[in-house]
Subunit: 139 residues, 4 copies
């Protein structure tokens, strides 16, 4: 589990006066990348090896709006993992601890070019080991 803090950018607001809902997906990605770094892997390395990791599902519950001047705290964890598919869970709060929202995103790893999914235990054993460790009930 990992938590990052993201100060809201002015550009992220819309004329409703609050952060535009699509920008939450950007916050989630930043948190996810940081979690991976903390766990010892770099998403950038995967791309340099010729693979990318597209999102196959996103689901977000919006509970409370945030705006410029607020800081969003994003807590992220590996929710489930199956060699082919990784699901991350997220909880977002504001600087006062109020629940802003929660989310899940699902990811696969594919080859650049053909976008065919690959098995992580074969192509990226260090990622596989990391996910297995993080998923372990003992940890």
């Amino acid at each position: 589990m990992h938590t990052i803090q993201i100060p809201v950018r002015y550009q992220e607001t819309d004329m409703m006066g609050i952060v535009y809902h699509a920008n939450y997906l950007v916050y989630l990605e930043i948190a996810r990348t940081e979690l991976l770094r903390e766990l010892g892997v770099e998403y950038k390395d995967m791309e340099q090896a010729g693979f990318v990791s597209p999102v196959t599902n996103v689901s977000v519950d919006y509970k409370k709006s945030v705006t410029f001047g607020d800081t969003v705290h994003v807590r992220v964890w590996v929710d489930s993992y199956s060699k082919i598919r990784t699901v991350y869970g997220y909880e977002l709060t504001d600087q006062d601890g109020h629940l802003v929202g929660s989310a899940k995103t699902t990811h696969v790893v594919v080859k650049q070019g053909d976008f065919k999914p690959v098995r992580l235990d074969r192509e990226f054993p260090e990622w596989h080991d990391m996910y297995m460790r993080v998923m372990s009930p003992v940890t």
Copy 2:
């Protein structure tokens, strides 16, 4: 039901070479706005009356990537309606008819300032009538 066509903008792609996943939420919103216009109401008018309509849930399944040069066809419809809450359904295809993804978004209407949800049949009877008509099994 309504379908719009959105040519992918270069700005919407990312270094994976495809449309960044958060931008699908923008496509959905454009389609939703067009559907409302077709049904005789304007979202802009709601804001000018002092109300806004935030998203409370978003769920997207990504099936196939699209990129610059592609045109995304977004089909949108009112999936369910309950005076307080409206759910829209979406299906996205590319210019060759391949399924790109599907989605649902849930919305409430709130007062600007306090963000308290209001009942559409009381505050916006013409929207209520429109939703009831669109939801009607006869139509």
Copy 3:
């Protein structure tokens, strides 16, 4: 010369209630791409040939704000061309003909990977001919 019409997207607004200033650069790019298409070339083809065309300078004067519900008309033309460098000029107006802003952008063409600039008359003679024709005072 070419003119396109871009309806403002809700996502493009910010909490000032108007289109966020960086989004004008997106409008300019859409107009530029359309101008090229009209002139018989496709930017997409250049990328598929292993070249990209980064912006080296952008300059925008903002005269009047626009917001959701407005349509921006972008007029674009080739302002100058020198085998290495192309400058586009732009004038933006709203649906009532009021001046919204004006801009210039400068571009080079470079090889993907090393980002070294190339001469258009050598690498892309059809683009070179097109620019020379468009720049011609006779036309």
Copy 4:
């Protein structure tokens, strides 16, 4: 003068593999807001007082591309000030000290609603004093 560090977000890249040029304007704004905070004023307070500060001109020179994994260092200063108009200067470098670009942005302060420019020495004397101090050759 003030310098901030901005790690590039994946979302900010495009299919050219580099940060999309319009996103530099977002970086500039974040640096500008931080400079103001350091100088003792908060842009947020200006908006809460019923005023906004739109950009009237932007000019950016792009020297070197950056991508995901890079960190952009933005140095920002008040370049000139005239009660009605403030010009900020910027220099961007990457984590290795290479020049990424330079920019200037011009701003006015206007009333929300009518967008009429106001004189800072009358409406926001503390901002005026701050700008005069920062502009002073003695400092």
